[in-house]
């Protein structure tokens, strides 16, 4: 909590006496705990770490692939441990939360029109979700139908 002292350097004593000293509120690092929307925002931001974790796992897979069959087998073995499966489930849940919250925000960034009419936000969100499901299914069939 501090006061700013940056204004009114007038030497006129009348103004000196009543010189307004402003009060500058300071923000605590826990500014976000008091309000629900802020907590939700922070959680959404933190889920990016889990998205990054997925990316790191993918990089490990690519590396193992480039190192040959042995390295790949070792990685697959590690992936099958209960620890790794648990980790994947947790990451998956956070990534889903991340995706859903971001898809719900899509209409704020997109103003699309058909003729003169603006496409309502709900439609944009629905299209996003449908595309997400369709792409996920396509990739899943690609992988599972070996």
């Amino acid at each position: 909590m501090a006061k700013t002292d940056d204004i009114n350097t007038s030497t006129n004593p009348r103004y000196q006496r009543y010189r307004p000293e402003r009060y500058s509120p300071r923000m605590s690092i826990f500014w976000w705990v008091h309000k629900k929307p802020f907590v939700k925002f922070i959680v959404r931001e933190l889920t990016s770490l889990f998205v990054a974790a997925y990316a790191v796992l993918l990089i490990f897979q690519v590396r193992a692939l480039s190192q040959g069959a042995e390295a790949w087998e070792a990685l697959v073995a590690w992936f099958s441990t209960p620890f790794s499966i648990g980790l994947h489930v947790i990451i998956f849940l956070f990534v889903v939360f991340h995706a859903i919250t971001w898809f719900n925000l899509a209409p704020t960034a997109m103003v699309l029109r058909i003729g003169k009419k603006r496409i309502p936000g709900g439609v944009i969100i629905t299209i996003n979700f449908l595309m997400w499901i369709a792409l996920s299914l396509a990739i899943a069939t690609l992988i599972l139908a070996r």
């Binding site: 402003r22 009060y23 923000m27 802020f38 925002f41 704020t108 003169k116």
Partner: protein, 247 residues
């Protein structure tokens, strides 16, 4: 006897206080009273030293914005009955410097508005005899929403980024930039980009989204900023792919 409601009003008198504090006042709870009526009642009948801003009393001038129960609102548009059972906490807009009681310093905000060059910019000014710059209703609709801003600064009091990063030009100023960027008569986007694609510009926004929630005029500044990010990124890509082109 008339029922009353308690207001806890934040006071700060720079000539004697070093920290703000809350003072309680009991005011009549009347059906048609807004928070601003209660403040006026206090000033007229209980404590004439209380300072706050207001003017139109009808949600137009944008000067009566305050935190009511920790939410930035226009006090002339917030009924006492919405805040039952009380007490109602009234404080100056968050993140702004306080000059006195509920009066905040708006200098920084005014400078930010200027930074985005909120006027029609044309490459060549058309001579008057050539007539006016025409616009169809559809073209007007493109920016109409962004022109509704009343500069109440509620969106700044709702935006933690504006609080943490005083350099951030902020929601209303970016919406104002878009009001001109989307105007068919304007050619100033490039100049505004210089101000807004850099430090303290649109990319400081982390999309908390609260600015649009609190805006009393449905300006949707959060939307204005995200649209700017999309077009800013598109222009950047274009400049990479076609460096010789005019973006």
């Amino acid at each position: 006897m008339e029922t009353t409601i308690t207001l806890e009003v934040q006071r700060y008198l720079p000539e004697k206080d070093t920290e703000p504090y809350f003072q309680e006042y009991k005011v009549p709870l009347r059906k048609k009273w807004v928070v601003l009526d209660a403040l006026n009642y206090i000033k007229d009948n209980i404590d004439g030293t209380l300072s706050y801003r207001w003017s139109c009393r009808m949600g137009v001038c944008g000067s009566c914005g305050m935190m009511v129960n920790d939410k930035p609102v226009l006090t002339c548009a917030t009924f006492l009955e919405e805040c039952l059972p009380g007490p109602i906490r009234v404080a100056p807009l968050s993140y702004f410097d306080v000059i006195r009681d509920l009066v905040v310093n708006t200098d920084g905000f005014m400078d930010k508005l200027k930074r985005v060059k909120p006027w029609l910019i044309t490459d060549q000014v058309k001579p008057v005899p050539e007539g006016e710059y025409r616009q169809t209703p559809e073209q007007k609709a493109e920016y109409d929403q962004y022109s509704m801003c009343i500069n109440c600064m509620l969106c700044y009091a709702a935006c933690p980024v504006a609080g943490l990063e005083p350099e951030f030009v902020g929601p209303a100023a970016i919406a104002l930039a878009q009001r001109y960027n989307y105007d068919s008569r304007d050619e100033g986007r490039k100049q505004r980009n210089e101000e807004l694609l850099g430090e303290g510009g649109i990319y400081s926004c982390t999309l908390v989204g609260e600015c649009s929630e609190v805006c009393p005029k449905a300006v949707d500044p959060a939307g204005a900023i995200q649209r700017y990010k999309v077009s800013g990124a598109a222009e950047w890509w274009k400049s990479v792919v076609v460096p010789w082109g005019d973006t």
